[in-house]
Symmetry: C2
Subunit: 171 residues, 2 copies
């Protein structure tokens, strides 16, 4: 799929068909994430691929904003070494993964797991204390309804500036 078209059409997907995501697609998603840039090229990322139904259900019940994980055929926990810019680098890497997935028809949705929820999921997945669990992302093929969703975004003039903050970009 053309990259611009992929970026433009990608939707956040929370409702999934039961179909498994083929191994070849998961591998492309992992490769895409691996090719991301990172601060000083530290590549502080780890990705845990979760397909076990009990584990997915348990994460879905722990994460108050991530119930949809329980209904996904798979999820990826994004784990970062501390130091550097873990959130920034995780975001860059995840976006590569999401686009590689979308090009294969697979959508995803990020679940925030903060505070106590974060500790519980870390324990469940055996994530070492010195690593940071940034998010768990559910992936799968969208239901027909989810695939028909629309993207709602601010218009460019609201977010684009020329030379200085507040100077209209004139779009």
């Amino acid at each position: 799929m053309d990259v611009y078209q992929c970026i433009r059409s990608r939707l956040t997907v929370r409702d999934f068909k039961p179909d498994a995501v083929p191994e070849g697609v998961v591998r492309r998603m992992l490769q895409a994430a691996r090719w991301s840039p990172s601060a000083r090229n530290r590549q502080p990322w780890h990705f845990i691929v979760i397909r076990n139904r009990d584990t997915l259900a348990e994460i879905g019940s722990i994460a108050s904003s991530g119930g949809f994980i329980g209904g996904a055929p798979m999820a990826v926990a994004v784990v970062m070494a501390r130091g550097g810019r873990p959130e920034f680098d995780a975001g860059r890497s995840l976006q590569h993964m999401e686009l590689a997935a979308w090009a294969e028809g697979v959508g995803g949705c990020v679940a925030g797991v903060r505070g106590e929820e974060n500790e519980k999921v870390k324990e469940l997945l055996g994530i070492p204390e010195d690593k940071e669990l940034v998010t768990v992302v559910a992936f799968g093929y969208p239901t027909d309804e989810a695939a028909a969703g629309t993207k709602v975004r601010k218009e460019l003039p609201e977010i684009a500036h020329s030379e200085r903050f507040g100077q209209s970009y004139g779009i």
Copy 2:
């Protein structure tokens, strides 16, 4: 360009030809960034497009790790509203922008601007106190040498795990 090929081939570029980045390309970069997902779809981002040579030179001299900005034909300052997950959302959005740029032959490099440097650049660009300057990213057409660079990344088995942290993904 195919999305997977774009992700795979994208290089971080610090050395630029003097050629300007055409307005149409900048617009595609901004659109791509705008189409990014964000926590609760808050879209907390602002993008300041900088082409003024004096401004670029001044940012390059302020940012101790971003001297290359002074030699770039343009840069984009990524500014986020506070609250939510500004670094994570900035990373996702920036990656859309970088891929849209690369598809047009334009490369970029992130400069960290922290502490006092951050305050100075915020003042220079008129960024309100209540907004967060996450990074300034230089963009331009790579020199022939920069375009011939290679990507060095950890191998998948080092970063991919199956079901639990530390369990080999078996790639």
